[in-house]
Symmetry: C2
């Protein structure tokens, strides 16, 4: 019998309540979808020792009683397998397999575009103790400065919006990626847009885009959980 809430280690910015990690948002929405009680623990990039028990250095990490899981996809699988009687994230094996593809589309196509648009804003909202770590690791990763990476964002956002075209087309057929109601596939796409909203005043979407309307609906799910987060109105 499990009475304790699940704990989610959740990336925070300068303020404890600025939660901007796309991978953590996926998990938060998945926990709400599964109707599981949970609490979040603000965590910063440089607090590696706090989650050392998980055997790695990144969030999300969840702790559920005596079990812990890291990596957002592994957490989704864990929740689905451990709580099969709660609302489903995947609706069976084919739904899970295709949700994996949506996750890979987000990670291979959307996230590399979004990071270019918001990386200087991420930097400016970080906790002071994370700033050097973030700049050093990201500038090494991208081979350029944060400022250079996002210098062309006014043009580059057009490319990003083009990349959303498959989603835009699907939303002409159905209310959500997962069908009549949202599920993991929606959370994984939405969380990348929420990442930007929570950290940057730069508008990724224009209001007449069907993706914008879908995002509005996603902001309203779970009694407006994502809308109530500290974020920019963009």
């Amino acid at each position: 019998m499990k009475l304790a809430k699940i704990r989610l280690y959740d990336l925070a910015g300068a303020e404890d309540d600025r939660r901007f990690s796309p991978n953590c948002w996926r998990v938060r929405l998945a926990l709400l979808h599964k109707q599981l009680p949970f609490e979040t623990i603000p965590w910063r990039f440089t607090e590696k020792e706090t989650i050392a028990f998980s055997g790695q250095g990144k969030v999300p990490v969840i702790v559920d009683g005596e079990r812990f899981v890291s990596d957002s996809w592994a957490i989704a699988e864990y929740l689905e397998n451990s709580y099969p009687d709660n609302p489903t994230l995947f609706d069976g094996l084919m739904g899970k397999a295709l949700s994996r593809f949506v996750t890979d589309w987000v990670e291979a196509v959307l996230n590399p575009e979004i990071i270019r648009l918001i990386i200087t804003d991420i930097y400016s909202h970080l906790h002071p103790k994370d700033k050097d770590y973030f700049r050093t690791t990201r500038e090494k990763l991208f081979g350029t400065t944060l400022e250079a990476l996002s210098a062309d964002r006014d043009e580059r956002v057009i490319t990003f919006r083009d990349r959303l075209e498959p989603l835009r087309r699907t939303l002409q057929h159905q209310s959500f990626l997962a069908g009549q109601t949202p599920a993991w596939a929606d959370y994984v796409v939405f969380s990348s847009l929420q990442w930007a909203r929570c950290i940057s005043p730069f508008s990724l979407l224009v209001e007449n885009d069907p993706v914008f309307s879908w995002r509005e609906q996603m902001l309203d799910t779970f009694d407006g959980e994502a809308r109530q987060a500290i974020a920019y109105s963009c």
Copy 2:
């Protein structure tokens, strides 16, 4: 009681047996998946009157007893709804919704890249009576000559291979897009690669690509139906 085979009007090239339409390949594989007896009828772009009964001018069109359906997605929906006891293409509502996204990804991202790579080869394999129609309609659509559109294909194929990255990542998790066994999501991607194979000697994939290996498996499904088609070995 239905005894007649389903008839599929299927785009053909110069030879009756050169069947290259990606949308028709989707339907052929869906019919095999659903284990429904069918026959194909070679059809050319300019034979509009032959399918005028369908109320439009494009294949695929299927005729099932007294019913007819056009548009590959509508046909998949029709087969799934009409033959619910046969093997499923979608595995439920979420699987169907996510299969729609894969279809939109193929149509919005992959097909516009592939057409640039193979359009001159399509032209050269058409039935003589279709050639003027094809050149005229496509050059109007693209605003340039067929030859100009594919002139940079040696470089452009790199972009195409980049676009496959989400699929490539997913195939590191699972054997097929739809999971352990192929379904509509696999057929819709494969059919676009088969489109190229059936009409062009130009290699879209390199052999060490996981997408290449997956395509090999797809070529072997249904007793090698797609492998036995008139096509190039590329």
